[in-house]
Amino acid sequence: MPRRSLWLDPALVSILCVALAPGAAAQAGPLVLDPGTAAVFQRLAPAVLRLEVQESQSKAKVGIGSGFYATTDGRIVTNYHVIARLVHEPARHVVRTTIDGELRDLTLLAIDAVNDLAILGGGSLTPGAVLAPTPVSLAKGTRVLALGHPRDLGLSVVEGTHNGAVQHAAVPRLHYTGPINPGMSGGPAVTEAGELVGVNVATFGEEVAFLVPSEPVAALLERAPSAPPPAQALRADIANQLGELAKARLTALFVRDGPTAVLDGFRVPTGSDTTFRCWGDTERPTDKRYEVLRHSCDTDGTTLISETLRAGLARFEHAVVRGALSPLRLLTALEEVYANQTPFDGTAREVTSFRCRDDNVRATKLAWRTRLCVRRFRHMPDTYEAMLRAVAPGPSRSGVITSLLLSGVPFQVIDSLAPRYLAAIEVAQ
């Protein structure tokens, strides 16, 4: 799946840290612009931790992030993407935190990959302060402070604005306008009163940032076990979470009377307002006798599985090709528009190769040529990625090409959605 947002990538941070000479980050004494901010910072600083993921043998730092105490018994909340290596390569990695200048090992208790959360414990930690997730209701424009370790430069606080829940998102996210930087991942965002608003998770362009709201944090704390589960169970947990998300978001797709759009004589399914973000455009290649009308929808954002693999839930695109073309030339035009390259992530260890099948099927007066390709996420049970691409000449000098990508979904979702998707495309009356 194409990357949609810039995650607060711990690996990136580690690279940036290498570029910074020790001492270059030496700073003058703090300039207090707002006594309220300074007070919140002083009060909550003992709750916020610097997390370091190390390679077990060499003790080399492979990534850093932030976390915070959420319970009095020392449970730490952070982002899943900060500690993802512990799930996929548990023998080779360890997560540690610095307390009183001393590195202490932590253990991974629970993860919520879909919401990008993780709970750490261990190390007989005694919190200096605790930020428990409690429901808060904020108006847009409320000042929110984000804490963390930006670019490993030490604990910092930044000021920003709460801008409500993100629309068209498959998982709940809060829109935060403020300068969140790599390394602050997993740190808390709080009100001026010191209440937890959410967890720093991602940025997207200039000062556009996202927080995980406190509800899934509370839910994960609730179900986190006291002893660390094996990595295999954690990976199965990711598969379950993705499966639940897919069933919740996708099973109602492409049903009769679902949302549709009309594209030059073809009625095609489009996305619902709440889950999908849709785009449209018309291409007119100057050297061709046809033009291409495009309509695409995707679930905004992807679920990070590992640093090299993401699951994007669903994306679909329709392209209607039309022009003054003979039937044979229309077939050529469709072949030209159909041919493309789709980038996928994942390494050979994480995913199998794609297996494909070609078919001819007729649905609602359209004779489709289809290619269905599926691959499996190797270490997560019943988790697949599927691409259905289909092309059909229409009744009059136009044809339609469509593609449906399902990513990180159970097999049964592919089975039920593939035929329903094709059946939902028809010649408009």
């Binding site: 046809y290 469709l334 050979a348 099948r357 078919d359 007729r362 390709c373 697949y384 097999f411």
Partner: protein, 323 residues
């Protein structure tokens, strides 16, 4: 049946012809029935005709070297060739050999391959072949192009097939030149056009099979059969141009080689690892087909294919070391 055989200076047979297909000429020009570029062989060197009592009369056509009974023998204006005997024409040798079964069609009609090769010797054919190819390629490209300017696209296709055919014929001509001292480019080009036409027709049959029964046993079998036939036609034609009269052994070898090539070209893409790690490439070949001939979509349309895909995917275990 007896055969007239022309041997090069190293003793290799470079031409064969039924002994009763007379009169004919021998020389280094391609227009001769028996052609040799061996030293001392002139353009039209000698004429062979049926003499009295079934003997073969060899008559010099005014050359410097004439005809000799031995390499250092006296120059003769004419001589009679008998079974088991040899005559020297320059450094080349002409002999009368006993027939081999199946060497050439004995039905009285020339074999199709031999007839095509004889046809390709005509000067008009050699000139027309590139023009016909350019025209056919251009028409095909123009018919199928969705470009704003289909004529230019068609000409590009015509030029491309012309260049491809010239390279193919050039390869054969090079081998011909090295082995037998004469390129015969024009003839290779002409028979190349014929084999290309066969490739187009048979290839299209395989494309239809692949389109109607994708990834099935039928598509594989039709691909194999058509590719073998294409190679058989191409090899037979070009080899016959190289050695105008092929032998039975040559035929069997050619057929075996065609089967091998057909198998490789048909199955290699099917056996290739379908893996694409970072990039999935999509291409499709569409055919004009009536929707009535296509099976209707049902909720179970993909069920069987998906079960089969799932089995394959589950069987693909992680065999990678060092996790």
């Amino acid at each position: 049946m007896t055969w007239l055989e022309l041997l090069d200076e190293r003793g290799g047979v470079i031409g064969r012809r039924p002994a009763d297909a007379l009169p004919c000429t021998v020389g280094h020009e391609a227009a001769n029935a028996l052609v040799s570029r061996a030293p001392g062989v002139e353009g039209r060197h000698a004429e062979l005709s049926l003499g009295e009592g079934g003997a073969i009369l060899v008559r010099d056509l005014g050359t410097v070297g004439g005809i000799r009974l031995a390499p250092d023998g006296p120059r003769l204006d004419s001589a009679t060739l008998a079974l088991g005997h040899e005559l020297f024409i320059g450094a080349a040798r002409l002999r009368l050999a006993p027939g081999q079964p199946g060497g050439v069609s004995t039905s009285g009609r020339p074999a199709p391959v031999a007839a095509l090769v004889a046809w390709s010797e005509r000067p008009g054919v050699k000139i027309a072949a590139p023009l016909v190819l350019l025209f056919a390629g251009t028409v095909m490209g123009w018919t199928l192009s969705a470009d704003e300017d289909p004529l230019t696209a068609g000409l590009a296709v015509g030029a491309a097939v012309l260049v491809a055919e010239a390279m193919w014929a050039g390869g054969w001509a090079l081998v011909n030149r090295i082995r037998y001292g004469q390129a015969r480019f024009g003839q290779h080009f002409a028979v190349g056009v014929v084999s290309s036409a066969a490739a187009l027709l048979l290839g299209e049959a395989a494309n239809w099979a692949e389109f109607l029964k994708p990834s099935s046993g039928l598509a594989a079998v039709v691909s194999f059969a058509s590719l073998t036939l294409i190679w058989l036609v191409a090899l037979r034609l070009h080899l016959r141009v190289m050695v105008p009269e092929g032998t039975l052994r040559g035929r069997r070898l050619t057929a075996a080689f065609a089967v091998l090539l057909g198998g490789c070209f048909a199955w290699a893409p099917r056996l290739a690892d379908p893996k694409f790690d970072a990039q999935a490439e999509y291409a499709v070949e569409l055919k004009p087909i009536s929707p009535a001939l296509v099976p209707a979509l049902t909720p179970q349309s993909y069920a069987e294919a998906l079960r089969s895909l799932e089995r394959e995917l589950l069987a693909d275990r992680d065999s990678l070391p060092g996790r």
